[in-house]
């Protein structure tokens, strides 16, 4: 009996080895920083990427997923352990060498030069020349062929900064495929949270592509927070928690399709996020925020035309739409960062159309910006300062509250850290040094705080849970709903339809910068899709 089992195990082992291990990491460690503030990002971690397999890496924010894959791609140099690519160590451990060997990574933050065209970006670093001069023609032909083969629509003749997020990502993927396609040895494509910033149809496009690449013999690594994506698209799964591998499920393991189990592994015993539909809002309650026939335009943020909407006290209004249909302009106009060319904006009964952000904040606006790095945080400042950015008066003493009370400031941070589980609890650490999810928690904690016992009149939140893990996302959603329960109004812009549906009382759909539909939260996917895409049904529209 035992011999039989051993035989089976041997056979399984051999089968595993027969699947070509293109990248093999073993006993990898990595520590960021030094001394007391040192963070152990990877602690004795192993990972194998095999040809023909989509390998999902899941875990909380800060679990070390991105760092691990950056080690595989030569972007981060490990402190210890082995990195083998096609059987030989990755030396030197640089992105260039990794690319040369056939390992390419699409980063969470796109690595594109916004002022150069798509084609120039694709060429950069490996520029094709003829007689010493740039010669883009053969590259353009190669790109066109690849685009056709993989059905990846991207404009490559305009500056990258003018492309939508989805297009930029497809450009990144194109680049990786162009670079690592050589030699016919198979290739390794690493996707770091590829779907975090995409609309559902674009996300599906990317994931389908990942599957197709694997079918053609590539090894695909996929970092994601969306466990439903894992269940649907991955062949094998590695779960990580706090810098360590918790579990590895090889291809064929039923756990790969079990989102609930994976969530439990990734999160420990804290349970799975469940979204409950909201209570109906009281339509007779006063309007806290209103936009009337607002037009606004901005080169980078896009355009809105004739937008009219209302948010009542205690009501959550969701803004849905395909990325790039005016959501950014709407966000900036509502926040006071973009001046409308026409129309009227009211906050808590007062005309704030011409008011600055500061004046609007004084009237009870809270703003969780979609672009956290630009509007949400001062990354170089210590977290304690950031936790009261724009509200230092609340922790100041002395004549005219002119002196900041450092101790009160630190207390404000530790309180927020306790409430939102911000890690590490280090008030002196630069805000930018926290992981993405913890940065978002800092912003949310600051914006949703009560001021002199009062909740914000209006919370404007753009993509509040983008790129954060399920547990943090739930924490943020709970905080948002509790504001509504206490009488604040919320305007939430999100590309995550499931989230909008779970949170909102009403969903307003933007298309081409105008409001095309206003739906109840229980509207069907097809109804929403049709409104967003402008077709008969969402499915047809994006096919």
């Amino acid at each position: 009996m035992k011999a039989m089992q051993a035989m089976k195990a041997m056979q399984a082992m051999q089968a595993m080895q027969a699947m070509d291990a293109l990248v093999e990491l073993s006993a990898v460690t990595k520590t960021f920083g030094s001394g007391a503030g040192a963070v152990r990002a990877l602690d004795d971690v192993g990972l194998v990427l095999r040809a023909g397999s989509v390998h999902a890496i899941v875990g909380e924010n800060g679990a070390g997923k991105s760092t691990l894959l950056k080690v595989a791609a030569g972007v981060v140099v490990a402190d210890g352990g082995r990195v083998d690519v096609f059987g030989t160590p990755l030396v030197p451990a640089t992105p260039r060498e990794a690319i040369r060997r056939g390992v390419g990574m699409v980063h969470q933050h796109f690595m594109l030069v916004p002022t150069l065209t798509g084609l120039q970006n694709l060429a950069l670093g490996f520029e094709p020349t003829k007689h010493g001069l740039l010669d883009f023609a053969p590259l353009a032909a190669q790109v066109a062929a690849l685009q056709k083969e993989l059905d990846l629509p991207v404009r490559i003749d305009v500056p990258v900064g003018t492309l939508s997020v989805g297009e930029q990502q497809r450009l990144e993927i194109l680049r990786v495929l162009l670079r690592v396609a050589g030699g016919g040895r198979g290739r390794v494509v690493i996707l770091d949270e590829p779907t975090a910033v995409l609309a559902p149809s674009e996300a599906a496009m990317v994931l389908e592509l990942a599957r197709r690449l694997a079918r053609e013999g590539a090894a695909v690594a996929l970092v994601t927070h969306r466990l439903d994506e894992v269940a649907k698209f991955a062949d094998e799964v590695t779960t990580m928690r706090r810098g360590r591998v918790v579990a590895h499920h090889p291809p064929g393991d039923a756990a790969v399709r079990d989102a609930a189990l994976l969530a439990q592994e990734a999160l420990g015993d804290t349970g799975v996020s469940t979204m409950s539909p909201p209570q109906a809002a009281d339509e007779s309650s006063p309007v806290v925020f209103a936009m009337e026939e607002v037009d606004a335009e901005d080169e980078a943020a896009g355009r809105i035309t004739g937008v009219t909407l209302r948010v009542h006290a205690g009501e959550i209004v969701g803004i849905a739409g395909v990325e790039g249909n005016g959501q950014r302009a709407l966000e900036l106009v509502a926040a006071g960062l973009l001046r409308p060319s026409r129309g009227r904006i009211e906050l808590d009964g007062a005309d704030v159309t011409r008011m600055l952000v500061r004046e609007r904040r004084a009237r009870g606006l809270a703003f969780i910006a979609g672009d956290r790095h630009r509007y949400g945080l001062a990354e170089e400042l210590p977290a304690a300062d950031v936790i009261r950015l724009g509200g230092l008066g609340e922790v100041s003493t002395g004549p005219g509250a002119s002196l900041v009370d450092e101790r009160a400031l630190e207390r404000a941070f530790t309180d927020a850290a306790a409430a939102f589980d911000i890690r590490p609890i280090d008030a002196s650490l630069a805000a930018g040094a926290f992981s993405g999810g913890n940065q978002q928690k800092i912003v949310v904690a600051r914006e949703l705080r009560t001021r002199r016992g009062a909740v914000p009149r209006l919370v404007l939140a753009a993509h509040p849970t983008r790129g954060v893990d399920a547990r943090v996302a739930r924490m943020i959603r709970d905080a948002l709903t509790s504001v509504a329960a206490r009488g604040g109004g919320l305007l939430i812009i999100s590309s995550d339809l499931a989230e909008l549906r779970a949170l909102s009382h009403r969903i307003v759909v933007l298309r081409g910068g105008t409001v095309v539909a206003e739906l109840r939260a229980d509207a069907s996917d097809d109804q929403l899709g049709a409104a967003m895409m402008g077709g008969e049904t969402g499915r047809e529209a994006h096919a």
């Binding site: 972007v75 992105p95 260039r96 690319i99 980063h107 796109f110 690595m111 594109l112 030069v113 916004p114 002022t115 150069l116 120039q120 970006n121 060429a123 950069l124 670093g125 490996f126 520029e127 020349t129 010493g132 001069l133 740039l134 680049r175």
Partner: protein
């Protein structure tokens, strides 16, 4: 007023504008790569002295020109290495280089020519006619090889940015170093290359000054490097627009020289002319400019 529309005025405008133009191209190379360059002023000065020393010791102004370019490159490399390898602040390094150039040239002037103020006179690349008519002035400016070398500076700059691998990498490194590095481009090497180009251009500008005045005089760059830098910024870091700004400034300065002996306007107002005209022209024609995103970050 009619004196503005003469060949002599055109020649004078070019003569004044061309050194700005060469230095501005230097500024564009460096700043498009992300290295702030206030060292253009000192580089011009060193280039001018290089041209004079090279010419007097070898007897050939062409050797002098070569010395000017080498001196410019060396000084800019010092700047580049201080900023990129030594992680010095680029403005501080630039100021230090300007002070070094001012003191160093004075020191060399004294040790080579035993003079505190100026060098003996040197010949130009080609002999100029002594005819002072407008057409002769314009002809001699247009036939001067140094004019064409300056034109080459701008032509090569424009061409390099659009058609060469190095130019593309410079643009990428100045705009988004992380993206460039991720694509396999070496940031430091690209920036050092750009700084060498800046040295060539600013050295050329200095040589122009020396050949134009047939000598070196202490502090002869006279703030031209800073004006060139202003032209770079006002021209939105684009070669064509910066060149235009330099030529406008040259014309305005030529006009100021024309009008300064007229007694119907106070000469202080006349002296402001180049700056006022340039400001208005640039504000009106060019509008707002956006610097390379990674300028000054390393």
């Amino acid at each position: 007023m009619s004196r503005l529309f003469t060949l002599a005025f055109l020649a004078q405008s070019l003569r004044i504008g061309l050194p700005y133009l060469a230095a501005a191209m230097g500024g564009i190379w460096s700043e498009r790569a992300g290295v702030v360059n206030v060292a253009l002023e000192g580089t011009m000065l060193v280039g001018a002295l290089g041209a004079v020393i090279g010419t007097t010791t070898s007897g050939s102004p062409w050797i002098g020109l070569l010395c000017a370019l080498v001196a410019g490159v060396v000084l800019q490399l010092v700047h580049g290495l201080a900023v990129l390898r030594g992680h010095a602040n680029a403005i501080v390094s630039g100021i230090a280089i300007n002070l070094l150039a001012a003191g160093g040239t004075r020191f060399l002037l004294r040790s080579f020519y035993d003079s505190a103020s100026n060098s003996p006179s040197i010949p130009s690349l080609v002999r100029r006619s002594s005819d002072a008519s407008g057409s002769a002035l314009l002809a001699s400016t247009l036939l001067d090889p140094s004019t064409w070398l300056v034109v080459t500076c701008i032509a090569v700059t424009v061409f390099a940015f659009s058609r060469t691998r190095f130019g593309l990498r410079v643009l990428a490194v100045g705009e988004s170093p992380a993206a460039a590095e991720n694509a396999g481009v070496s940031i430091d090497r690209t920036r050092l290359g750009a700084v060498v180009c800046a040295g060539l251009c600013a050295g050329m500008a200095g040589a122009w000054l020396a050949f134009d005045q047939h000598q070196f005089s202490s502090g002869m760059s006279g703030g031209r490097g800073f004006i060139a830098l202003a032209a770079v910024i006002a021209g939105g870091w684009r070669p064509g627009r910066a060149a235009f700004a330099c030529l406008v400034f040259g014309a305005a300065e030529a006009a100021q020289i024309l009008f300064q002996d007229q007694h119907w306007v106070p000469h202080h107002l006349v002296q402001m002319l180049p700056y006022v005209v340039t400001l208005i022209a640039l504000a009106g024609v060019i509008g707002r400019s956006r610097p390379p995103a990674a300028l000054g970050r390393n």
